[in-house]
Each structure stands twice: as structure tokens, then as C-alpha cells.
């Protein structure tokens, strides 16, 4: 089936001019270091032009996956295909790719221009063409005035942009990003997220990004794969992943989740609960009300339970309540609005949610 898609893809490519972006496929890839299995039986397809993010806790095999794709490591078993070609035995320098390293890895002894020229030189592109491309790329990332500087004379954000420009300047068929924004402070990170998103939209280059920043993953990606102990836990679009997590691990890893294991009240939901699953509801899906508050019109589609506020945390635009209901414990998140009733620890409250917002996830 994959063969079919790649054939049709190359037919389309033939009609287009400009760079050809690649489809990437992992087929049952395993990588072990001695006794440690870093990646286990990984199968995954990244389609052309997709922005895929690999997300997972520390040691889950994200970097290893990226290193396999970059050709710095060879798989112990299985094979990797780039644009339909097996690359398991191809060293890094014979692959056409762009990589942004976690610490940017800008050559400290070369100016920005020379850094950008490097991949072009390695591909034997002549001097005139190199100069032209470098100038265009510098304009594109708003660094035209800084071409003569050394990397050490640039700010963190500027270095990041140079690294991105260097990775993309040779029009590689795919781009690999290793924690691309990890070294930046918060404000700059948001700005760079927007910039990267627009770059990706403009070029449409196949991109694989590794991060453990969930916000970054949710903002940038077309699809996210969540890894756990070398295996894929779930792969889906950001919305689907957040809204319909398949396992409690994913639910907890992406955002906050209320897991209701053996609640001492009757749980109502629209769908029947399968065995081996647990009910989950996101904190922002729960309304917190005074006991005497008026019932809503759609009460028949909702469930309410009574509980006691144990703690209230005020966090700027949000207010977070910890509420105990019998033996279970709820986190409730509410946007601050004027005229809201504020509850204090010890207050009796009513929690109320739509039954359709309850999810059952594998334990």
C-alpha cells in the first residue's frame, strides 16, 4: 500500500518544480545499546510535508529515533526508508537532510555566511549560486545585516534562526529538529514557534521534531507521536491526542487529567465502559458551582456530584480548585471572569459536567 502512495507521489513531483520533499518510513525498527533497548519495534510513516513531533518523557527513545533517521546510528533490526529508499546502511553524509541540533551546533570559527554556505559547498554548488542562496535565506530569516558576525556574537534567538536557515538552505527533502527551542526563554520561544510554523507553511518541508515541551508540540505539529519506553504509545493529531487519549499515560502526559478509579458514586456515561479502562475527564470540562445554584437546562445530559474544596490556586487567567468527592479527588480549572463566585477551602460545592466529556482510557 505504501508502495502505491509513493509511486503516485513521485508522479505528482514530476509535474512540480522546486524541491521534492520526502516521505519517511520506519519499518519494525529496533535499536539496542548493549542491554538497553532504546527503540523497540517502531513502525511509523511520516507523509510528505507533514510536521511530526515525537513527544515523550526522558529516556523514552526520542533522540535515538532522530539519530537513526539522521544516520548517526544504524538500526539493530528493521529498516528505514526515505522516499522509498532503504537507508539503514547509509551514513549521515550521504543523506540529503537538514538538522537543527539542540545546541544549534553552529561552527564557532566561521561567520554566519560561511556557516550557511557549508551545506552548499558540500553539495558542490558553485560560488555565485552559493552567495545568491545565502543572501536570500538571510533575508528570509531577517538576518541580512548579521552575515559577517561570528556565532558567538549573536543572541540566542538569532543563533536559532541561523541554525534553522543552515538546515534549510540546501533544500533538503526533510528537516530534523532536536529540541529546537529548548535553549530559548519563554517569550522568545513563543515568537519562534510562530516563525517556524510560518516557515513550514511556506516551504511545506517534511519535518520531524523531538521535544518534551507539550505546548510546543501542540502548537507546531500536524501529528504527534507519544513515546514510552521505546515504543509508540499513541500517534494522532494534536486535537485528537488531547481530546481522545488512548491510555492513561497519554492523558497524564499531555495536560492534566482527572482519573476516576473506583469512585464511590455511580458514574454515568453515554458509552459503555470496556474492561481494563478507566474514566477520565479534563479539569477544564468540569464546572464548579455553589450547592444552591440553579440546575442547567440540559441537566439530563449532565452529571453532578457534591464535594468539598480543599485548595484554591490562583494562576493569572485561571483558577484551579482541588475538590474532594468521597474517596476521589478532582482538579477543576476555571477561567477567571467577572462576577464569578470564588470558593474557599472548606466550601461545599457541586461539580457538574457533560456526560459526553467523559473518556475511557486504557490503564
Amino acid at each position: 500500500m505504501n508502495v502505491n502512495t509513493s509511486v503516485s507521489v513521485s508522479e505528482v513531483d514530476a509535474l512540480q518544480s522546486g524541491p521534492v520533499y520526502a516521505q519517511i518510513e520506519f519499518r519494525n525498527v529496533t535499536k539496542t545499546y548493549g542491554k538497553v533497548t532504546a527503540v523497540e519495534d517502531l513502525s511509523l510513516t511520516v507523509s510528505r510535508g507533514e510536521f511530526l513531533t515525537i513527544l515523550g518523557p526522558s529516556g523514552s527513545g526520542k533522540t535515538t529515533t532522530l539519530m537513526l533517521l539522521a544516520g548517526f546510528e544504524a538500526p539493530t533490526a528493521g529498516d528505514i526508508f526515505i522516499a522509498g529508499r532503504s537507508v539503514a546502511a547509509v551514513p549521515s553524509y550521504r543523506r540529503d537532510q537538514g538538522i537543527v541540533f539542540q545546541n544549534y551546533a553552529l561552527f564557532p570559527h566561521l561567520t554566519v555566511i560561511r556557516n550557511l554556505e557549508f551545506p552548499l559547498q558540500m553539495r558542490g554548488i558553485n560560488a555565485a549560486e552559493r552567495t545568491r542562496r545565502v543572501r536570500r535565506m538571510l533575508e528570509r530569516v531577517h538576518l541580512s545585516d548579521l552575515g559577517g558576525r561570528m556565532p558567538s556574537q549573536l543572541s540566542g534567538g538569532q543563533q536559532q534562526r541561523v541554525a534553522l536557515a543552515r538546515a534549510m538552505i540546501a533544500d533538503p527533502p526533510f528537516l530534523l529538529l532536536d529540541e529546537p527551542l529548548g535553549a530559548l526563554d519563554r517569550g522568545l520561544r513563543e515568537q519562534m514557534q510562530i516563525e517556524m510554523k510560518s516557515l513550514h507553511k511556506e516551504f511545506g518541508i517534511t519535518t520531524v521534531c523531538v521535544t518534551h515541551d507539550q505546548e510546543e508540540a501542540l502548537t507546531l505539529s500536524d501529528r504527534i507521536i507519544v513515546m514510552r519506553a521505546g515504543r509508540i504509545e499513541q500517534a494522532d493529531s494534536p486535537e485528537a491526542l488531547y481530546d481522545r487519549p488512548a491510555t492513561s499515560f497519554v492523558a497524564r502526559f499531555l495536560g492534566e487529567a482527572n482519573m476516576l478509579e473506583n469512585p464511590d458514586f455511580q458514574f454515568k456515561s453515554d458509552t459503555p465502559q470496556a474492561s481494563g479502562t478507566v474514566a477520565m475527564i479534563r479539569p477544564e470540562r468540569i464546572c464548579i458551582l455553589a450547592l444552591d445554584a440553579q440546575k442547567r437546562g440540559d441537566a439530563d445530559q449532565r452529571q453532578s456530584v457534591n464535594g468539598t474544596v480543599e485548595d484554591m490556586i490562583y494562576a493569572g487567567p485561571l483558577r484551579k480548585y482541588h475538590v474532594r468527592v468521597g474517596n476521589s479527588f478532582f482538579i477543576v480549572r476555571e477561567h477567571v471572569a467577572s462576577g464569578q463566585q470564588i470558593f474557599r477551602p472548606g466550601d461545599e460545592v457541586c461539580l457538574d459536567w457533560l456526560r459526553s466529556d467523559v473518556r475511557f482510557v486504557a490503564v
Binding site: V90, R94, H109
Partner: protein, 593 residues
């Protein structure tokens, strides 16, 4: 008294006074006087220099000195660079072992190691004996007392001096940089050449400078292993001091040697890490490009290489890689060979020192301790050893106190002034040792201390103080000044703060400094040879005489002992370091809670 110290504490630069006082009296003033003598002050003329160059023998020796130094430095670089590269590329435990294996010979007596080569290369040496026994040859080969032997011996001694700065520079190179280069299509060799090599240049410069200057002033190995035609300028100068004491002629030769050293220091860039150095080299480069037609040549070449690369890129894209096993094997073999070269002479001597016959044999037919018995039984050997230990301890104490104070004071002075003063304190270890020896000789003559222990201690302390300053400064650089401020805020005086807070914290550095100062003294021949007169015999001096005059197998025992001393010291150093680490680990959780 207390007041004086407090004043000094407030004026940190005052702490450097003792160090500079010794330096000035023993080395600084005499070298200025020597320079004046060489230019016939107050008449001022260049007759001495012209006279030096008028004699063809002098010029020949000068060129020989430069040639030997350049060739030895080049061999060290050619062998040392790949070794350092492979050491850095090895896994952590292998790397630490290899670095220790490079440091041990570095700390081992150069005299003992030179002696080892005599034993190996001599007419009745290990190699000739082996070949004779195997029947490959029928009369001994002339392996020693020629230029080849000089290079073998000098490179053997200088190689660690080259490898260590290279390793430290290469360790600082981020591995992801070469990975990045490869990911952009640079083949391993290109990635090395375009990225790794330029970044390792500071190490290349530092190592080459150290080795070159060392070679210029070092005459033990050439004199012991070379023929009559292999004399170095330093041998020449030393002989002049012993035979005729014509101060202006000696001074002239010394300053010519110094001028070469300074010229090379300047050419290769003194301050290796500074941005100034970089702009200087780029300016130099653009100048070269301008005066020659290099630019055009470069453009032509790059057009050629571009098309070659383009072809390579398209033909090899997504082709399977080459097998790297072969290069791994070659690399391992290379490092093994270098380690064998560094260690086998010492090991052979240690094994031979247990020979039981009247000659040294390898391998010994039976084991005996006779040469050790001779050593400990002979009052002249015992006396020399005892003198060396006394002088070594005195030098260690003096230079550690003076050097630690100076390092502490320098740490608190303005950076500009600090680097200038540090450079000055380091002169005795950064210029050819024979020049230091001549200056010290002259200085001690003026003080009437030639042939006295005090004189030897003072002369050796100038270099040892420099070593202590380097080591203690490195420790102070990592030292958290807020701890001191905290102590002061608790009303501790400066002296109390230094004694109760600073000193305990920098103790590993101070101990390390003391150990290196002792080793420096314990192995010193060139300076000691000149300033000892005829009355005092240190162990290296007695060994040196024996090596030159008669080959007494007792030297094998002495050499073995000398090679074991640094290993012992290393263990002591390691234990102090380990203890301070342990203390750190214990105190850290307390701070956190």
C-alpha cells in the same frame, strides 16, 4: 604584624612581592645585566653578535639547534596529533587510562628516560643483543650517538608535552559540531579538516610552542644520545660557562637563543585564546593573499573542487557506507604503538635493574637486588639522594608559600595587570632553560651563593614558583568568592578568612603545586649543573656524570627508583583529590536541606 598583614590583604597585589623579589634577584636583574654585557654597555656595540655570526662553527651549531628543534617538534606533532585525537575519541574509561599513561612519563625523570635509550640503543644494548642472538647481524649496529638517536630520545621526552595540550583543546570541541558537518554532507575527512582541525589549532599552537622552546634549551638528550656533530647551542653555552667564563660571549649566545624563542612565540601568537590573536592571524592571512597570486589559485581550485564535490554528491547519495572496522583497527594499533614507545624504555630499565650478572641483561637470566644494594650501600649515591630530597623539599616549601600567595594576590588584581604579571612570573618556565640557567648563575655569582644549597634552592624556585602559580590559579578560578565574603561578613579578618576558609578550599591545588614543585626540583639538571659549583651533587647531577663518563649499572637502579617516585606522587595526588571530592559530596546535601 597583624596590621601589616591586614594592609597587604587590602592591597592584594602586595602578596606577589615575595615571588617577584626572588624572581628579580635570581633571574630578572641578572638577565638585564647580561643583556647589557652582550651589547657592551655602556659603549653599546653589536661586536659580540657580529663576532658570534663571524664564526662558522657558531652558525653551524645555531642552525643545528633550530633544525633539531623544528624536526623534533614536527615529529611530536605528527605523532601526537593523531594520538590525542584517538584518545579524545575513545570511551570515557579508556580515555582516562590513556591520559594517565601519557602523564606518567611526563612526570618521570627525563634523565632516567634518556638513560633507558642508551641501554636500549647502545652497542651492547637490548636491540643489538637481540639481533646478534637471532643471528640477523654479526657485528653491532651503530644505533646510538647519531642524529637518529637524538630524535628518538627527544621525541620520547617531548611527546607528552605535545599530547596533553592537544587533548585538552580537543576535549573542548563540541562533538555535535562534526556530527552537524556530516549531516550537511561532509565526508568524515572533510568534517575533520573543515571543522575539527581549525578548532583544535589552539592546542596545536600551545603544544608546538612548548615543545619547541623546550627543545631549544634542553641539551641532556642530545648530549647523551647524539654524536659529536649533534651539539646544540645550549650544550655549547654550558661548556663555555664551565671552561672559560667570558660573560659577554656567553650572554650573546644566550640572547640569540632567547631571540629565536621569542620570535617563535610571537609568530605563533603568545596569547592563544584571545581574539587579538585571531585578528592578527587573519590580518596575516589577508596580507599573504594580497602579495601572492594565491587568491586566484584558490578560486581556480575551489571551482575544481566544487565540480568534484557535486559529482561525488550525486553519485554517492544514499549509497551504503564504507566499513569503518579497518580504520578502527588501524587507530587502535597506532595508539598501542605510541604507548609502547612511551613506556617500554622505562619498563625495560626497571626489569634490567634486577639483573644479577656484572652487566645489565635483558631479560635478566636471574633476579637480584645487587644494584639496589650498591646504590644504598654507596655513601656517594646515598648522599646525592639525600641532598636531592632536602633541596626538593626546600624548593617545594619555598615555592608553594611564595607561589600560593602570588596566585591569591593575582586572582584579586585587575585582569589586564594580572595577565601581565602572570606572564612575568612564568618567564622562567616559558623561555629556554639554558637561558634561565645562565641568568641564575650570574645572579648567584653576584650574591656569592654559587655552590651552596641556598643558591640551588633559589635558582630552582624561580621555575617551581611559576608552576605553583599556574596550578593554584586554576583552582582559585573555580573558587566561589561568596564563601569568602560570607566569612568576612561574620567578622573574620582577612588573614583569618584566608587561613580558615580559602586555604582549606584550595588545598588540592596547593598540594598539587607542591608536588609538581618537588618533581621539578628533583629532576632538574641544566640549571643545577651550572650553579652547583663542584661541591654539591644532587641525584640527577650524579646520574648525569655517570651516564657520560662510565656506564655503571647502578644507574639502572637509580632510574627505576626515579621512575617510581612520580607514580607514588600521582597516587598521593589522586588520594587528596578523591578525599576532597568525597567531602564535597558529603557537604552538598547539607547545604541543600
Amino acid at each position: 604584624m597583624m596590621k601589616l598583614f591586614q594592609k597587604l590583604g587590602r592591597m592584594p597585589i602586595g602578596l606577589t612581592i615575595p615571588a617577584f623579589a626572588i624572581l628579580l634577584v635570581v633571574f630578572g636583574i641578572p638577565i638585564v645585566l647580561l643583556f647589557l654585557a652582550s651589547i657592551n654597555a655602556p659603549a653599546f656595540s653589536a661586536t659580540n653578535y657580529l663576532g658570534f655570526f663571524a664564526q662558522t662553527a657558531n652558525v653551524r651549531v645555531l642552525f643545528q639547534t633550530i633544525e633539531v628543534s623544528v624536526v623534533a617538534t614536527s615529529i611530536c606533532l605528527i605523532v601526537g596529533y593523531p594520538t590525542a585525537y584517538l584518545i579524545v575519541a575513545a570511551s570515557k574509561s579508556v580515555r582516562i587510562t590513556l591520559i594517565a599513561l601519557v602523564i606518567i612519563p611526563y612526570l618521570t625523570s627525563g634523565l632516567a628516560r634518556t638513560y633507558a635509550w642508551i641501554v636500549i640503543l647502545g652497542d651492547r644494548g637490548v636491540i643489538n643483543n637481540l639481533l646478534l642472538q637471532l643471528g640477523v647481524i654479526h657485528s653491532p649496529l651503530q644505533l646510538i650517538y647519531n642524529t637518529m638517536a637524538v630524535y628518538i630520545g627527544m621525541v620520547h621526552i617531548m611527546l607528552p608535552v605535545m599530547i596533553l595540550p592537544l587533548v585538552s583543546a580537543m576535549m573542548g570541541i563540541d562533538r555535535s559540531l562534526t556530527a552537524a558537518a556530516r549531516s550537511m554532507g561532509a565526508r568524515p575527512l572533510t568534517a575533520f579538516w573543515r571543522v575539527f582541525f581549525p578548532l583544535s589549532l589552539p592546542g596545536v599552537r600551545a603544544g608546538s610552542l612548548l615543545v619547541f622552546v623546550f627543545c631549544l634549551g634542553f641539551y641532556i638528550t642530545p648530549a647523551a644520545l647524539g654524536g659529536l656533530r649533534d651539539a646544540m647551542l645550549s650544550t655549547f653555552i654550558a661548556a663555555q660557562v664551565k671552561n672559560s667564563f667570558d660573560i659577554s660571549r656567553i650572554a650573546t649566545s644566550a640572547f640569540i637563543l632567547l631571540a629565536i624563542a621569542v620570535a617563535v612565540l610571537f609568530l605563533l601568537g603568545l596569547d592563544l585564546a584571545s581574539a587579538q590573536g585571531r585578528t592578527a592571524t587573519t590580518a596575516w592571512k589577508s596580507w599573504v593573499v594580497r602579495i601572492s597570486k594565491l587568491d586566484m589559485l584558490k578560486r581556480y581550485f575551489s571551482r575544481f573542487s566544487d565540480s568534484y564535490r557535486a559529482k561525488l554528491w550525486t553519485t554517492q547519495l544514499y549509497q551504503a557506507g564504507d566499513d569503518s572496522r579497518l580504520s578502527n583497527i588501524v587507530g587502535t594499533m597506532f595508539v598501542l604503538l605510541v604507548m609502547v614507545y612511551l613506556h617500554s624504555p622505562g619498563l625495560i630499565v626497571i626489569i634490567m635493574s634486577f639483573s644479577s650478572g656484572t652487566f645489565l641483561e635483558f631479560p635478566p637470566s636471574s633476579i637480584s637486588l645487587q644494584w639496589y644494594q650498591t646504590f644504598f650501600g654507596d655513601p656517594s649515591w646515598r648522599g646525592a639522594a639525600w641532598t636531592s630530597i632536602q633541596i626538593g623539599v626546600a624548593v617545594a616549601i619555598l615555592s608553594t608559600i611564595v607561589g600560593t600567595l602570588a596566585a591569591y594576590g593575582l586572582n584579586r588584581t585587575h585582569p589586564r595587570l594580572r595577565s601581565f604579571l602572570t606572564m612575568t612570573i612564568l618567564t622562567p618556565v616559558t623561555i629556554p632553560v639554558i637561558v634561565v640557567a645562565i641568568a641564575s648563575y650570574y645572579g648567584l655569582v653576584n650574591l656569592g651563593l654559587i655552590g651552596s644549597r641556598t643558591g640551588i634552592v633559589l635558582a630552582q624556585s624561580t621555575g617551581a614558583t611559576g608552576i605553583v602559580v599556574v596550578i593554584v590559579s586554576a583552582t582559585l578560578a573555580n573558587f566561589d568568592r561568596t564563601l569568602e565574603r560570607a566569612a568576612k561578613s561574620m567578622r573574620a579578618g582577612p588573614l583569618q578568612t584566608f587561613w580558615r576558609v580559602t586555604l582549606p578550599l584550595i588545598r588540592p591545588g596547593v598540594i598539587g603545586g607542591a608536588v609538581f614543585a618537588f618533581l621539578h626540583s628533583f629532576d632538574e639538571v641544566v640549571i643545577t649543573n651550572l650553579v652547583s659549583g663542584y661541591s654539591i651533587r644532587t641525584l640527577p647531577l650524579k646520574m648525569w656524570e655517570n651516564i657520560r663518563n662510565q656506564i655503571d649499572p647502578t644507574i639502572a637502579a637509580v632510574s627505576s627508583l626515579l621512575m617510581l617516585v612520580p607514580v607514588l606522587w600521582l597516587i598521593i595526588l589522586y588520594l587528596t583529590w578523591w578525599r576532597s571530592r568525597l567531602r564535597d559530596h558529603r557537604s552538598r546535601p547539607e547545604l541543600e536541606t
